[in-house]
């Protein structure tokens, strides 16, 4: 029971990410409307980006930007930052446990912007489909395609 509680409570956020991903995937597969499919794709993408960024979180760490003022204070209080070199910024050693991991942030910045570009292309294609067949519902489009072909 304790192990189960540890699995559910301590990892609650991962459960929510999986739920969000499955909501997006379900929308992409089962929805009839093309715009709803695109919204589902976008929800899927942002849920994955959310999961990725949350991997880089460190408890008690600050944002991944070196601050000049806060750093001198910290070097004054805690003694384990090496000899605090000169007064110039950047002369002290920056402890990797003080700042968050910047690598997931960088990769996900790219992913967000590429996601919106893909959404734009998908919307352009659905506008073309609407102009050609007069509807955005998948079953009506397939009917129209079959009737014009056969």
């Amino acid at each position: 029971m304790d192990a189960l509680q540890e699995i559910v409570i301590a990892r609650f956020n991962y459960w929510v990410y999986v739920v969000l991903m499955m909501i997006g995937l379900h929308a992409m597969i089962t929805k009839n409307n093309l715009i709803k499919k695109l919204i589902g794709m976008s929800i899927f993408q942002t849920a994955i980006i959310l999961f990725f960024v949350s991997v880089g979180v460190k408890e008690g760490a600050t944002i991944p930007i070196v601050s000049h003022h806060g750093h001198e204070e910290v070097a004054g209080e805690a003694g384990h930052h090496g000899e605090g070199g000169g007064p110039a910024h950047g002369a002290d050693e920056i402890d990797p446990d003080d700042h968050e991991n910047p690598l997931p942030h960088v990769l996900m910045l790219t992913a967000i912007v590429v996601g919106v570009a893909t959404l734009g292309v998908g919307l352009a294609v659905s506008q073309k489909i609407y102009r050609e067949y007069g509807s955005l519902e998948e079953n009506e489009i397939l009917e129209a395609m079959r009737s014009t072909d056969g």
């Binding site: 609650f12 956020n13 929510v16 739920v19 969000l20 909501i23 997006g24 929308a27 929805k31 009839n32 409307n33 715009i35 709803k36 695109l38 919204i39 589902g40 976008s42 929800i43 942002t46 980006i49 959310l50 960024v53 949350s54 880089g56 979180v57 760490a61 600050t62 944002i63 991944p64 930007i65 968050e100 997931p104 942030h105 996900m108 910045l109 967000i112 912007v113 919106v116 959404l119 734009g120 919307l123 659905s126 506008q127 609407y130 509807s135 955005l136 519902e137």
Partner: protein, 81 residues
């Protein structure tokens, strides 16, 4: 991170994702998608990912919702499911 805030934001995130996909009016779906985007931005700002939150606020809630609304205005507002 304050876990109460994170919990409330995550619950609202799931609720807004479900609403955005169940509503029959496509314009409302786009607006709720903008709400979803903004809630994710708040979540990232609480986690300390400030660059990612800035980009999501500008791109997701700004430009993404505008593209969706532009397309809905040019096609149709009605959706069967």
């Amino acid at each position: 991170m304050i876990w109460q805030f994170d919990l409330i934001l995550l619950v609202f995130l799931v609720i807004s994702a479900v609403i955005s996909l169940r509503v029959k009016d496509l314009l409302s779906a786009s607006i709720v998608f903008g709400v979803y985007s903004f809630l994710i931005c708040l979540l990232w700002a609480g986690m300390g990912a400030v660059d990612v939150a800035f980009t999501e606020a500008a791109v997701g809630a700004g430009v993404g919702a505008v593209f969706l609304i532009a397309t809905v205005f040019n096609t149709t507002r009605r959706s069967s499911d």
